[in-house]
């Protein structure tokens, strides 16, 4: 697309998509923004006047706010760590020629197709149930006391469940990245005297940096909004209340749309700060 005519034609063609996307994004965002400056209680008469930044102050001032931010960061960070590390290991493993490769790959990817709510329920009732869960049986088999997962180590349990679901995504992207590595580079490194670990560290890992960036970015965006799994497992109790869950409680349980909207705006800002920060660190990798 280099001539003037083709450029303007391209703009014209792109316009509907861009406008649709903008509307899609801007309308809810603007509405949230407007609500956040109002006292709006649907069950007590709806709109009750403009309140400026009061909702923002109250949301941050609430004793639940900082713990919720902490929980969010902990869960997102934990899931990222587990999925990226295990994803790299799994991808390396799946890249090896082995018998039944096709089936193994499909099996590895399967969890990603399970709906989040189902994932949460399956884990809660089939694995982590302290009486009848598989893990409880496993513990008892080895003579231990079953762990009451969701109330003893609730945050870790949620990290575990979410990681299980997102691991296939990370593995898949990292696997394609590993497969795109020129084998001559590895052979050259081998001739240059690099043992297996150095080859991983100096050749494979840098080659994966771009894919890792993408995994982290995409997952972060989705993980900041995880809701279903918390809803069906702990209902936000035992310190598993994330920012998203807090907003949900403010809007639906306390019926305070204004306060919830202010929380929503905070979440948007947080997500953007995080995304910018990530882009900065790894941006060099992306525009290479």
């Amino acid at each position: 697309m280099s001539t003037k005519a083709s450029r303007s034609a391209a703009r014209l063609m792109l316009a509907p998509a861009v406008i649709l996307l903008l509307a899609w994004m801007l309308v809810p965002l603007t509405m949230t923004l407007i609500f956040s400056f109002q006292r709006f209680l649907p069950l007590r008469g709806g709109f009750q006047g403009w309140v400026g930044f009061e909702n923002y102050a109250r949301f941050v001032g609430s004793s639940a706010f900082w713990p919720a931010v902490q929980t969010t960061v902990l869960i997102v960070g934990g899931v990222l760590l587990i999925t990226v590390v295990l994803g790299i290991l799994l991808a390396l493993l799946l890249d090896q020629p082995m018998w039944g490769q096709g089936i193994v790959r499909i099996l590895v990817i399967a969890p990603f197709f399970v709906m989040p709510t189902v994932t949460g329920l399956v884990w809660k009732n089939m694995f982590m149930d302290p009486n009848n869960g598989l893990l409880a049986h496993l513990w008892r088999f080895f003579g231990g006391d079953p762990v009451v997962w969701l109330s003893d180590v609730p945050v870790f349990s949620i990290i575990l469940i979410v990681s299980w679901q997102w691991l296939p995504f990370a593995t898949l992207i990292l696997l394609t990245a590993i497969q795109s590595l020129d084998s001559e580079q590895l052979e050259a490194a081998e001739m240059d005297g690099a043992p297996v670990l150095s080859r991983f560290w100096h050749i494979i890992l840098p080659h994966l940096s771009r894919a890792i960036t993408i995994v982290i970015l995409i997952q972060t965006i989705f993980l900041l909004a995880i809701f279903a799994k918390i809803f069906v497992t702990t209902q936000g109790s035992f310190g598993t209340r994330t920012l998203t869950y807090l907003i949900y409680q403010r809007v639906l349980e306390s019926q305070n749309v204004g306060l919830g909207s202010a929380g929503g705006i905070y979440a948007v800002i947080l997500a953007n700060i995080f995304a910018l920060f990530l882009m900065r660190i790894v941006g060099k990798n992306l525009d290479r």
């Binding site: 050259a188 081998e190 001739m191 240059d192 005297g193 080659h207």
Partner: protein, 334 residues
């Protein structure tokens, strides 16, 4: 030092035997070129020497040391790949220093060797760039730089110039030859370009389907090809190979005569034919002559200023003392 001895080396991939038993000695300091048609096993042979593939049977000795079970890094060889295989995320300096870093060499020594290699290869200005910011020829030089800093016993090159354009290829050919003269290290060089083979090699190894057809200096192969395959493979344009009554006159099944050993004349000669395509190179002109009754087409070389047009009838006289004779099995007759 870098004397490489292959004894009864074989290589199979599953059921497919790529290298049947093969013996070869590469002397220290020699520039040896492997040539042969595509798929004949040149790269495989080189990778066996490098240790990137395991031999199926037989032994490889480098400076008298049995190497079949020694990993590539410990064989003291350096390899330059066709794709260059540079590390894209490292600067040129880091690329060249990588083998030294892996050998845990001191920082000063690393820097000294990198600077030295860069000076030899005209890379000094580019040391802080990444491979992606270099031209093909510069990347090639970085790959060579990475090989020479290790001061290996021998260099292995796998078609290092095939990604370069014609002009650059001639330049790099010269540079590699000069490098060999300076370092006097053994070099094993794979190519399917026989001009590269003829111009660079001390010794050429002609391969076909994993067999060594002939080993010799470029001129030995040119003057005394041991069989039809080598005769047809070495020399450009190809030797004319004639069968039938003309060959019978010389008590052979096939005779071979190179284009440059046939005299062209407008008036008289032993054979006559009609000019087809002419290729004018300036210094020489090659005529493809048809309707000679000898073969589909006979290629002859004439001086650049000889002019014949398409369709002209011309006369050819072979220099009989330069004729090569082959028997029914394609072997050279004395």
């Amino acid at each position: 030092m870098g004397r490489i001895v292959l004894e009864q080396v074989t290589k199979s991939f599953g059921d497919v035997t790529v290298i049947p038993p093969l013996d070869l000695t590469i002397e220290d300091g020699e520039f040896t070129v492997f040539v042969g048609p595509s798929g004949c096993g040149k790269s495989t042979l080189l990778r066996l020497i490098a240790g990137l593939e395991d031999v199926t049977s037989g032994s490889i000795r480098i400076d008298g040391r049995e190497c079949s079970d020694i990993p590539p890094a410990k064989r003291g060889l350096a390899m330059v790949f066709q794709s260059y295989a540079l590390y894209p995320h490292m600067t040129v300096r880091k690329n060249i220093a990588f083998p030294l870093r892996m050998a845990s060499m001191s920082r000063q020594e690393q820097d000294r060797r990198v600077e030295q290699a860069a000076a030899v290869l005209n890379l000094t200005e580019y040391l802080d760039r990444r491979p992606g910011q270099l031209s093909g020829g510069q990347r090639q030089r970085v790959a060579i730089g990475r090989a020479i800093v290790r001061e290996p016993a021998a260099f292995l090159f796998d078609e290092p110039l095939s990604n370069l354009d014609a002009a650059l290829r001639v330049g790099m050919r010269l540079e590699i030859s000069q490098l060999h003269n300076r370092l006097k290290t053994t070099m094993v060089y794979v190519t399917h370009d026989q001009v590269e083979a003829m111009t660079m090699a001390d010794r050429i190894v002609v391969l076909r389907a994993g067999h060594i057809e002939q080993v010799g200096t470029p001129l030995e192969l040119y003057h005394n090809p041991r069989n039809l395959f080598v005769a047809g493979f070495i020399g450009s344009p190809k030797m004319n190979l004639l069968e039938g009554p003309e060959a019978a006159k010389h008590d052979a099944h096939t005779i071979g005569i190179r284009p440059e050993h046939i005299k062209v004349s407008a008036g008289e000669g032993a054979w006559s034919g009609v000019v087809g395509v002419s290729e004018h190179l300036g210094s020489d002109t090659f005529f493809h002559v048809h309707d000679t009754g000898l073969a589909e087409s006979v290629t002859v070389r004439a001086d650049g200023d000889v002019r014949f047009s398409h369709g002209d009838r011309i006369f050819l006289t072979p220099r009989t003392e330069r004729m090569h004779r082959f028997d029914t099995n394609g072997r050279r007759l004395a």
